[in-house]
């Protein structure tokens, strides 16, 4: 009797495991980035960065701010972009999209030799150290005075404001603010702000 009971228990447990394994796991799928129909989240996701970047690029290209009087390309440096939200993300999720589009537009070059926190690509300077090394062909090492100083600077801030509407509902407002400054004069030649607002349950996390 005991043996029969334990066999039944074993089979029961096994069946339960199979059922639980089959039911509990949500199937992993790749996001269709071109046609994502998934509902919104209270926090920021890739669609929000994409929307904010697209709006900024659209506005910059329409404004004519990047038109060089001699038809040349401006040199653009990426300055400080502050994440002033309650979420942890790299601001490059926004800025990379913007700079890629501006570079592709043929209106600017983006410098990686100058940045708010030092050069973005340290190799700009490390490779110049090779001037001291006789093993390297002199002609292939960058000469002094070849780096281009930036004409323009891109800076910005992402702000979050949370408002509790009632016990069940909250509102999260995200402001994407960007500015392009002419370095010589310190004057802003373009400024833009994209607001993304979301409403949802107070149980949903927006940090």
């Amino acid at each position: 009797m005991n043996i029969r009971m334990s066999h039944t228990c074993l089979w029961g447990a096994l069946l339960m495991m199979v059922v639980l394994t089959g039911c509990s796991g949500v199937k992993t799928t790749k996001i269709d980035l071109d046609n994502d129909k998934a509902g919104d989240v209270m926090g920021l996701d890739y669609r929000d960065f994409q929307d904010a970047a697209r709006e900024a690029v659209h506005d910059i290209l329409r404004s004519g701010s990047l038109d060089h009087p001699r038809g040349e390309r401006y040199v653009l440096a990426i300055s400080r972009i502050t994440n002033d939200t309650m979420q942890h993300f790299d601001t490059d999720q926004l800025i990379k999209k913007v700079r890629v589009e501006l570079l592709r537009s043929g209106r600017v070059y983006v410098t990686t030799a100058v940045g708010a926190g030092g050069p973005e690509d340290a190799m700009n300077f490390q490779a110049r150290e090779l001037r001291k090394d006789d093993e390297f062909d002199r002609g292939s090492v960058a000469d002094k005075g070849e780096l281009q100083a930036p004409d323009l600077s891109l800076s910005g801030k992402i702000i979050q404001r949370n408002i509790r509407l009632d016990k069940k509902e909250q509102q999260a407002e995200y402001y994407f603010q960007l500015t392009i400054t002419k370095i010589k004069t310190g004057l802003a030649i373009w400024e833009g702000e994209t607001l993304i607002g979301k409403r949802g349950s107070t149980k949903a996390v927006s940090w």
Binding site: K37, A38, R54, V57, L61, S63, E101, R104
Partner: protein
């Protein structure tokens, strides 16, 4: 009877001309709720092609739509760009709607646009 047939033919003709531009596609889910009445293209002072589209809301209520525009260079190749992702725009009750899109590169010479109702 003949007169009625002519009038019907005229109505059908006018409604078809409403979106005669072959570069503009209305998705099936629009289902007659909006129509495009004007498509203009110009090169702006910065050298980028711009498209202005004007249309009407025939649904009698506010709804959100989105468009996806693809830009082509002189050889007919599409230009890959963030500006070619789905872009939402409002269609207000009993009002015209407007879309203004700018090309990502001065090389763009033509475009195709698809408009659909936003579902989520």
């Amino acid at each position: 009877m003949k007169k009625l047939f002519c009038i019907l033919l005229l109505i059908v003709g006018v409604s078809l001309c409403g979106c005669a531009d072959k570069r503009v596609f209305l998705n099936d889910n629009v289902d007659g709720d909006l129509d495009v009445s004007e498509v203009k293209m110009q090169r702006n002072h910065a050298g980028f092609l711009e498209v202005h589209i004007r249309g009407d809301n025939d649904a009698g209520k506010y709804f959100k739509s989105e468009y996806r525009i693809v830009w082509f260079d002189e050889s007919g190749f599409p230009l890959d760009s963030l500006l070619s992702t789905w872009t939402p725009f409002p269609v207000f009750d009993d009002a015209e709607f407007y879309i203004t899109a700018v090309a990502p590169h001065p090389r763009a010479v033509d475009f195709k646009i698809i408009i659909r109702k936003q579902e989520n």
